[in-house]
Subunit: 327 residues, 2 copies
Amino acid sequence: MKDVARLAGVSAMTVSRAMRAPDTVAPATLERVRRAIAQSGYVPNRVAGSLSSNRTTLVALIVPSLRNALYAEMIQGMSDVLMKHDFQLMISDSGYSLQQEEKLIAAYVAQRVCGIVLHNTRHTPQAVRILKNSALTCIETGNLVANPIDISVSFSNYAVGAAMAEHLAGLGYRRIGFASLPVRGNERLRERRKGFLTRLAKLGIAVRPELVLEVGPGLESGSRALARIVETDPKVDAVFFAGDVLAAGAVFECQRRGLDVPGRIAVAASDDNDLMQHMIPPLTTVRFPRYEIGVRSAELIVARAMGQEVGVRTVDLGFEVIRRGST
Amino acid sequence: MKDVARLAGVSAMTVSRAMRAPDTVAPATLERVRRAIAQSGYVPNRVAGSLSSNRTTLVALIVPSLRNALYAEMIQGMSDVLMKHDFQLMISDSGYSLQQEEKLIAAYVAQRVCGIVLHNTRHTPQAVRILKNSALTCIETGNLVANPIDISVSFSNYAVGAAMAEHLAGLGYRRIGFASLPVRGNERLRERRKGFLTRLAKLGIAVRPELVLEVGPGLESGSRALARIVETDPKVDAVFFAGDVLAAGAVFECQRRGLDVPGRIAVAASDDNDLMQHMIPPLTTVRFPRYEIGVRSAELIVARAMGQEVGVRTVDLGFEVIRRGST
DNA sequence: TTGTAAGCGTTATCAA
DNA sequence: TTGATAACGCTTACAA
């Protein structure tokens, strides 16, 4: 910066101003500085800038796993907003470990990020303490919670389960199964299941415990889940798959077994994506506003970083049951 | 840090040492410092540390689009390695724009990242200049290039196309079609297509230009591409789909039209994923070592950051043609 | 093994 | 509209 200043015949401070607040610099001076910057190939040092101003434009995101395509939409939403404001996105995965999450949070606080998004609503006490002390914007997502550390931006998984229960019951299905990824340490799936089973019970439909499965991820796993359910109870008339691409795997399995969907058995999915729409038959599913969650989260962080007061603690972005051919 | 030092009855420098090089501090002192850190809830300021040491543990990745699930594997590979070494990952997307890429590169250089991975091998002259001047580790991936800016870690898309040409020709297919996403500004697909068509020509198989398509992304788009190809030439006996999930969409379309795969028409895909394996029939495809590319890229960056000399300019991680039921 | 002093390259603040 | 000066919170280098 000093070199640029010398080249332009001004002080370093004027170079700094020319970059961050051009309208506070005289046009002629500005022009000279700009020329000097271009000529020297100067790239400012944001590390020094951040230290001096005690602010960064870094925003962190921690997801349970990066392999899961499901986060791509939210990441894109965050990225679109952050880029517009010249903020930077840092991403990492906790591997579904709260300890790892705590470690990452500490590292991000050390980097002095201005905001952090957690796709998770359970945390170690130490993680919560660090976040509360740091006073940075913290967005919890993945599941709407009543008492967020700072702000919750999501939809209610309990409501999702309940909505799907209504949907299936409303269509007349009575012998119903459920399969999801393991719910241990995953409050999102746990809530979705709870909402589903509780609402069905209220509607007078009991789900046999043997028909409530937890399985691994992947299409193959969905196929096996379907197989197990129809073998356990050949009269099952509908299954709700919560999470991953399990439902698609189940439909493939139905094709192999010659089970008509939905004539013989209905299949409902959650988390809409390209694949769900193009299966034969296309799958009834719940669409989550993942992109919008990313956008809203980033907007809140940027607003706070710009010094605005955001008077919200909970942002419910809802969801949508999309009925297609499979129910 | 001063507060912690006071609490522990040592100097700030000793606190710094206790954190970064514990074995250079006397055990008793170390213990006192650790207690003081825990007691005060001190979180070090890496911004200040980075400025002082003139090093960061930040690594940047720029991909054309974050929505595309195809990057998830590479990101996970990078993340796994970086996390192990306490490095941080920053991610953004260029939206397939070289201008945007240049802007992002400048921003990352300003952040003083220690390495940057570009999923792209074409750049603006200015971007190249910035990278060369900055002397940070720069990994280009997506396509193997002979003259990388710094290091190229990838596989050869030309070789991928050629290998698939050999595969189809070897199985006796003679009337062959090809469809990909638009190749404009995408040297990866351009090379793959070139390798495919060139090798087929060498094998005495001419591909009619009307059977070489460029289509948009998504399953639906693959369905339409297949439709157009079989309507243009009802005798086509094989189609190679390069990119995205086009091939899966094509197989869905074949099912709808009652065209047996591969009896009536063979379908080959590229970029193996869960879906490809579980289609009926499972798809013949090319597997790219995406996770490994992420791992290797991160390893090279970390090694350089640790001061090691890495004596490579080009790392060819290869690929694998996986024959399944669709050819 | 520990401490002292001098930066690192910006920006905040105040003065001119 | 511009400039001088003093931080920002660490680490490097060297001394004790």
